[in-house]
Amino acid sequence: MADDKPKGGILVIAAVPLIVIGMVFSIILVGSSSAACGTLAGGSGVSIDPSKVPDTTIAGYDHEQLVNAANVMQAGKDLGLNVRDQTIGIMTAMGESSLRNIDYGDWETGGVTNPDGSATTSIGLFQQQDGWGTREERLNPHSASMKFFQAMTAKVPERENLEPTIVAHRTQVNADPYHYTQFWEPAVQVIEGLAGVDTGLNPGSGAPGAGCDSLVPGQINPNGWAAPGAGPITDPYGMRQHPITGEYKMHTGTDLAAGGCDGPIWAAQAGVVSSRGFDSAGNGTITVDHGGGVQTKYLHMYDSGMLVNVGDKVTAGQQIAKTGSSGQSTGCHLHFMVISNGETVDPAAYMAEVGITLG
């Protein structure tokens, strides 16, 4: 993701030798998930008294809009939601009303009608129609937010594993499931600015898994290639006995520890993401086409750990995913594959040709 700038500390570290980097990165990851993410994003929400919002501008949102954001935060807090949920609320209101308490519907401005021909009556921060509550409730920022959050928790119980825009879409049923993605980064800025805390939320606007932890870049060698994940190799390429079925099958990739659960997975080379999703065996898989007849595949991530989408251009060493254990996996690891001119090949042997030693 172009916008996923690492925190300042990591930039400095990028110059020190490889072995040290591996160690430091794992410390950073553990640190950020336990200190910021664990206590805030997973725990109780944050708040600011709406009447005490300073007269300032954050991410282009003025005082009136920030007061509305404070009401969204307060409603989330009152419902016992965590800071990620609260931020989803602010993101949604940005995408619906630009955080303005709009008191007229699309019918009044553009003659927009519902499918049955009735006038649309969407009003308030979340552009809620009649079915959501009384006009007063929908025009009260706090109660409108309560209604949004109550719908969100009822409709999307599994939301921690879904990207924020999908959570918002499933609640609001927008015309575009990805409409809210552009508002994630400003929402993180607003909530952090108002609460005065680092939430640990990843502001990267395009990251589908935008949740916790900052992204970390990999190391690129002079040939322009990067290791896809940290070592050690936990299972090499080749025929082997399957740990679950006991049958002899082909292990088509090199398994790497890759930092364990949530460890960084890096694009081995620049390219275009050509697939992202789950195969029929349940393996979360990303494929990157590098051109030149070469593709690399990365397996076993969870949905929330896949940080790029089909069509995204990635750079060598860019973090594209977080290590997971989906599908045919008995513990968090990366199954890394190389396809050369249509043939699956031994990744360790291929990467050795470009100067990368896996593991």
Binding site: V173, P217, P222, G224, G311
Partner: protein
């Protein structure tokens, strides 16, 4: 050299400074390394232990066979445009109840899009018909294309991909016209 080769060059120069994705060559600073772009080894894949055809992949459960390498030929270009127009035609049916709409649209989507578009209200779709031919606007990868399709509500941009040179093109994204939503 392809676009990605150029991009990779820029990355080599900037990689230790930033994780950002530079988009244009003019962002490149003097490069400390080679100017030949990423090195692709000229090895014969058959020397790197490809699986024997017919063995079962332990992770995917699929029977191994070499893939058909995707290339941009006339057939591929016509194929992706046709797939985009077909998908846009199926999508632009706000008059249909969800179940009927989904039965036509879902088979044209990739796995992720099948998840994400399963929570749509077709009534919110503003386009009702295609008004011109689809145009490929990004063909950086032979496995992925962005195709613009003009409609009565503006130009939609679709991202499609294929698993290999013989696989069908599937949609991962319908991007709405500017200002719609």
């Amino acid at each position: 050299m392809r676009k990605i080769g150029t991009a990779a060059l820029v990355i080599v120069a900037l990689a230790t400074l930033s994780a950002c994705t530079p988009n244009s060559a003019d962002e490149a600073t003097p490069t400390p390394v080679s100017t030949s772009g990423p090195i692709f080894p000229s090895v014969d894949p058959s020397t790197l232990n490809p699986p024997s055809p017919g063995v079962v992949d332990a992770d995917t459960g699929e029977t191994y066979a070499p893939q058909s390498v995707a290339e941009w030929d006339d057939e591929s270009r016509a194929g992706v445009i046709a797939a985009a127009e077909t998908a846009m035609t199926a999508y632009a049916r706000p008059d249909l109840p969800f179940d009927q709409w989904w039965a036509a649209v879902q088979p044209l989507l990739d796995q992720k899009a099948s998840q994400d578009y399963a929570y749509m209200d077709p009534a919110r779709i503003v386009a009702t018909q295609i008004t011109g031919e689809g145009v490929i606007v990004d063909d950086t990868s032979a496995y992925v294309a962005t195709v613009e399709v003009p409609t009565n509500a503006g130009t939609y941009s679709l991202i499609l991909s294929r698993a290999d040179g013989k696989a069908p093109w599937l949609v991962s994204r319908f991007t709405l016209p500017e200002g719609v939503n």
